[in-house]
Amino acid sequence: MMRLLLLRLGQAALVCWSVGTLSFILMHLLPGNMAFRVAAGRYGYDNLNLAAAQAVEIELGLDQPVWEQYLNWLLDLMRFDFGNSLVSGLPIAHELMHFLEHTLMLAVTAMLLALLLALPIGIYAAIRENCWFDRASLLMSVLLRAQPVFMVGLVLLLIFSLQLRWLPVAGFDGPRFLILPAISLALVLAALSSRVIRHAGVEVIHSAFFQFSRIKGLSFGQTLIRHGLRNAALPVVAFLGIQLVTLIEGIVMIESLFSWPGLGHGLAHAVFNRDVPMIQGAAMSLGLLFVVLNLWVDIACHLIDPRGRAES
């Protein structure tokens, strides 16, 4: 267990450094003058002139050699100082906290919704293997997974916000705003995990220990609850770890689509404004979120399956 925690901590440090460095390099590779873009972000394109851009350049040290800027950033990072936004001038950490709060709200709601959908669908499809329900759920799953996440969001948005006018289009101002983005994300997550749950379920139902439990005299339901769920949960939870990539990816797209004030949306805006510290901060937070969620998955697997404990 200790080894696992240390491993994840090391991974987190590596994610911070690599994501920060990569976004730094990419930002400097983008065409266009950085000082002009930042100045445009601060004062608007109409008020943009050479003097403003030069003032920005000197203020932010953009005239310094690139490697010096990079070293400064690295030193600040080691002191847990994410710096200030180039555009708003506010500390990044403060804005990130605000974003993170909203992103977590969306992510957790979407995950819960996805489980609420995927668990019953997956388990029922496993019990009634190859029946019409199983096939229909396979078809739905393939259809949903064949779309990019924002496509699903867009379709829901067109139907429920623009046509039926039941739900708000974008932004965040109360729980009603959470519904559409959370459902879009949940649908995409559930499309895949329901199939994983179904396959794990089928495998367990066909296993020798499941049949032996029946032969011992336990009913199908008793066997499913006592032997099926825990054994089937193992591959499912392990798969959740892999699916987190879809979640993080989906968050960036869905937040941009619904103007959800979260990390992904913040990241997209920072890219338009060349707000390098903000990009690094947002990307790093998403990376760290991934590491933390993975740690949870590891711990869950550890609790479900005690067999590996002696080995590690």
């Binding site: 296993s207 020798a208 220990f209 049949q211 032996f212 439990s213 029946r214 032969i215 011992k216 005299g217 336990l218 009913s219 008793q222 006592r226 032997h227 825990r230 054994n231 479900i304 399956d305 005690p306 067999r307 002696a310 080995e311």
Partner: protein
């Protein structure tokens, strides 16, 4: 045997046969188990003896009602006079555990891998018998104690040995109080001491009910006593009381089966190897798996042409030791010396499960050709080698799944011998073969190894077998 037999038998099988459903419409269904009839009265024991693949397991599945979908049965099965086919599936399932118990063939697979031992038994009392949790737990503890599993209550199946897992499975299977017990190869893979303990357990339980056992092990049948049926490829060959059948049967196949018992093998004339040069030496080997110590400070030496038998309980590290000697696994401490400067590919392994050691998609001839080309071997030696192993060269035109297990293991042996090995690690090479084939393959292995002056480390769970055909014996036991 009870004094007065009731008129209704506990289990009655009448003209039971099993077919496989045809794949295409114009095909006829394939008969897998030929018509079989017998009755079992309370207190009686019946043992069905026969080679693997003789349709014995199908009989059990037909009685339980768990035949796989592509198969179906005909004929009548009655339990205490009740015709099973007249019952709807749900009522049939109501018999499981309560009236009929089935002891599984592979207990490790049949037990829930994540559940502690005691719970796997106590849940039956709780869910089937409707007892309160603490009363169920108490009863389960008693049950485990009765079969010598005290101290293992909170262990998971992967922490149990094969014998312990089988006893646990026995407790779990019979907890719901069934009086008819079906045991499908209950001693498969168990070493002799575990085997005897389990057979005694079965005998004890069957005094209150009825026991139907399937086995290919004559020794088990002898110990169980009662009545015996001898089957070969789905056909009934012999029927009678155990003593009468095993001591004096008119049936040739039965006699062959009895002769194939390792204890009855004629002593094998092994050549003297005292003067031979040592080919492999291990010093002070230790190995640990997880936090289980397999062996410590183990030293051994093998000479050219020597047959060294290695016995021990399943899971005690026999295979691991062989892999360490071959250099496939590292030892925790100690050293292995391979002497004489032979190429590493002349230290080889013969696997337990023949089908698993051949690629199924390619013809056998292709597999042999590849090997000959890779190591620039002399292809002209192959026909003579196959003849020596009583194999026809036509077999090479088939795929690995189209030849029998015994043939495939001999082909695996031919493949190994082509490499002119100096050391061969044979990991339970015949445990998946039926007794007659097993004896033939093993004797051939020893004969040919002696001819080639190849040292053999023969792993087996049967001390009697090792005793008959090995120069030296080593027994691994867990510390």
């Amino acid at each position: 045997m009870t004094g007065s037999q009731p008129i209704i038998p506990l289990l009655q099988v009448e003209n039971l046969c099993v077919f496989s459903r045809p794949q295409a419409k114009n095909q006829a269904p394939e008969l897998l188990l030929e018509p079989l009839s017998f009755s079992l009265y309370p207190g009686e024991r019946l043992t069905i003896l026969g080679e693997t693949g003789a349709g014995k397991s199908l009989l059990m599945q037909a009685i339980m009602g768990t035949l796989p979908k592509p198969l179906y049965h005909q004929g009548r099965i009655r339990i205490a006079g009740q015709d099973l086919d007249a019952l709807p599936q749900t009522e049939r399932e109501q018999l499981w555990g309560r009236r009929i118990a089935l002891l599984p063939q592979e207990p490790w697979h049949a037990l829930d891998p994540l559940m502690p031992s005691q719970e796997q038994v106590s849940e039956v009392y709780q869910c089937v018998k409707g007892r309160k949790p603490d009363s169920a737990d108490h009863q389960a503890t008693q049950d485990l104690l009765a079969v010598g599993l005290q101290g293992a209550e909170h262990k998971r199946p992967d922490q149990l040995s094969g014998g312990m897992a089988q006893r646990l499975a026995f407790c779990a299977a019979t907890a719901a109080g069934a009086s008819l017990i079906l045991a499908d190869e209950p001693t498969k893979g168990l070493d002799t001491s575990c085997r005897e303990a389990l057979v005694q357990l079965l005998c004890k339980k069957s005094t209150q009910g009825t026991l139907l056992t399937i086995t290919h092990d004559v020794a088990v049948a002898r110990q169980l006593g009662g009545r015996i049926l001898v089957m070969k490829s789905g056909r009934l060959l012999d029927d009678g009381r155990i003593k009468q059948v095993l001591d004096d049967s008119a049936c040739q196949y039965t006699r062959q089966l009895i002769e194939a018992e390792p204890a009855r093998w004629p002593p094998y004339p092994l050549p003297n190897i005292q003067q031979a040069t040592p080919i492999l030496e291990a010093q002070e080997l230790s190995k640990q798996r997880g936090n289980k110590r397999l062996f410590e400070h183990l030293s051994l030496q093998i000479r050219r042409g020597e047959i060294l038998g290695l016995t021990g309980d399943s899971g005690c590290g026999k295979s691991t030791l062989g892999d360490i000697l071959l250099g496939l696994l590292p030892a925790d401490s100690g050293r292995v010396y391979r002497r004489g400067g032979f190429a590493p590919q002349r230290y080889l392994k013969l696997y337990q499960d023949p089908p698993a050691s051949f690629a199924p998609q390619v013809k056998l001839a292709q597999l042999f050709d590849d090997l000959i080309r890779l190591h620039r071997l002399d292809a002209k030696r192959l026909p003579a080698l196959l003849e020596r192993l009583n194999l026809s060269t036509h077999l090479l035109q088939r795929h690995s799944h189209q030849v029998s297990g015994g043939e495939l293991q001999r082909l695996a042996l031919a493949r190994v011998l082509l490499m002119e090995p100096v050391f061969l690690f044979a990991d339970e090479p015949v445990s998946r073969l039926d007794p007659i084939t097993a004896r033939d393959v093993l004797q051939l292995l020893v004969e040919v190894a002696t001819e080639y002056q190849c040292a053999v480390l023969l792993v087996s769970h049967d001390p009697a077998l090792v005793h008959k055909i090995c120069h030296t014996q080593r027994c691994l036991s867990l510390p």
